[in-house]
């Protein structure tokens, strides 16, 4: 049975992690798990709680992101197949890779993505006169769509698919190897490499990390590795945090979301290299 103080800790930390996760499409586990370990939670117990935070945050942010039509499900499913396959491979080889080396590589990746996103100004996909508000959403049969920006509606189409899928495979490998959701690689890969607008990339990644986490959670649950009362506290904080994060993201401009994401990625890099 979890004490009241522990419960409040879980709720507060999960609220912050899920809120930040929904804002930048990071998932939140990469922030919550180290924070839980710092507060004395065992690392093996913290991993499922991180995944619960990601799944609950994904559900909470979903309705807001769907209302804005900022989730491109076709891009999400197409990239998640590669990421999930790599996650399975990552889980199989997890004992062969030095976690410390991997952590530093991830931190460098997060920093590189932060610099790439932070340096870029303006909109990559400008509004087009021939695009109307009813064009907003995803297109049938392709990895493309349109989204509203200041001054109109901007079309977009996923570019450089082979490189983007390669990065998704790395994100999946990371997810399977160290138990994070890989969102902090997926969102910048979609945005900076595949040229999907950052808002769409963040919302789509929030959708896909929910799938990754749900899969792992099913396994943890069947293995009896989930503490139900701690999980309930994390769910409580994550649902509220994910909702607040998605509402906040909706008020920000695409450039502001990208800058916020860059700041968060730097924070992720610091957390990764300083975690116990």
């Amino acid at each position: 049975m979890t004490s009241l103080v522990d419960t409040l800790d879980y709720v507060g930390l999960a609220f912050a992690a899920a809120g930040v996760g929904a804002l930048g499409g990071l998932g939140g586990a990469v922030l919550l798990v180290p924070a839980l370990v710092l507060t004395g939670v065992d690392a093996t117990a913290a991993a499922p709680l991180g995944l619960i935070c990601v799944a609950a945050g994904s559900i909470a942010a979903g309705s807001q992101q769907l209302a804005e039509r900022s989730v491109n499900h076709r891009i999400g499913v197409a990239t998640e197949i590669v990421a999930s396959t790599a996650a399975v491979v990552g889980a199989l080889v997890s004992g062969l890779v030095s976690e410390r080396v991997l952590t530093w590589l991830l931190a460098m990746t997060a920093l590189a993505a932060a610099v790439a996103g932070g340096r870029r100004g303006g909109l990559r996909n400008p509004p087009r006169d021939e695009c109307r508000p009813e064009d907003v959403g995803e297109r049938i049969g392709s990895l493309s769509g349109a989204y509203p920006v200041a001054g109109g509606v901007a079309p977009y189409s996923a570019q450089r698919l082979p490189i983007g899928l390669g990065l998704m495979a790395i994100a999946g490998l990371v997810a399977g190897t160290i138990g994070a959701s890989g969102g902090f690689i997926k969102t910048p890969a979609m945005s900076e490499v595949m040229h999907v607008p950052t808002k769409i990339a963040a919302a789509t990644t929030t959708f896909t990390v929910g799938i990754t986490s749900a899969t792992a959670l099913a396994v943890f649950a069947l293995q009896g590795r989930i503490d139900a009362s701690a999980s309930a506290a994390v769910i409580l904080g994550s649902l509220v945090g994910g909702y607040v994060g998605a509402r906040f993201q909706a008020r920000l401009s695409p450039v502001a979301v990208r800058r916020a994401l860059s700041v968060l990625l730097v924070a992720v890099a610091v957390v990764l290299v300083t975690k116990p």
Partner: protein, 106 residues
């Protein structure tokens, strides 16, 4: 500023606009929230059953969302993405089976 003049994408706009998925997600979130809150407040077996329910709802919802998408894409006759959706569920199932069988991991 790296601006790219994107062409207007070909093909029709998908009818998936979250009108049913959005409210369904709100119901799932509300159910998980109530079950988690009441479960934490109540002692004993009832409280534990409710906390387990909240975990089950959170775990099942993303996979049900993919299943729903497969159905909606089949309505749109977007068969390529129907196949991709089924393949994704297959990979997820395979991963779960391998983990349950104790293959790999720590």
């Amino acid at each position: 500023m790296s601006e790219t003049r994107q062409p207007v994408p070909p093909g029709g706009v998908s009818s998936i606009q979250g009108r049913r998925q959005g409210p369904a997600l709100q119901v799932a979130a509300g159910l998980a929230l109530v079950a988690a809150t009441v479960g934490l407040a109540l002692p004993g077996a009832v409280g534990e059953a409710l906390t387990v329910t909240s975990v089950a709802v959170v775990s099942a919802t993303p996979l049900l969302r993919v299943t729903w998408l497969i159905y909606r894409w089949s309505e749109e006759r977007d068969w390529r993405f129907v196949v991709l959706g089924v393949a994704l569920l297959g990979v997820v199932g395979l991963g779960a089976l391998l983990a349950l069988a104790g293959v790999g991991g720590d």
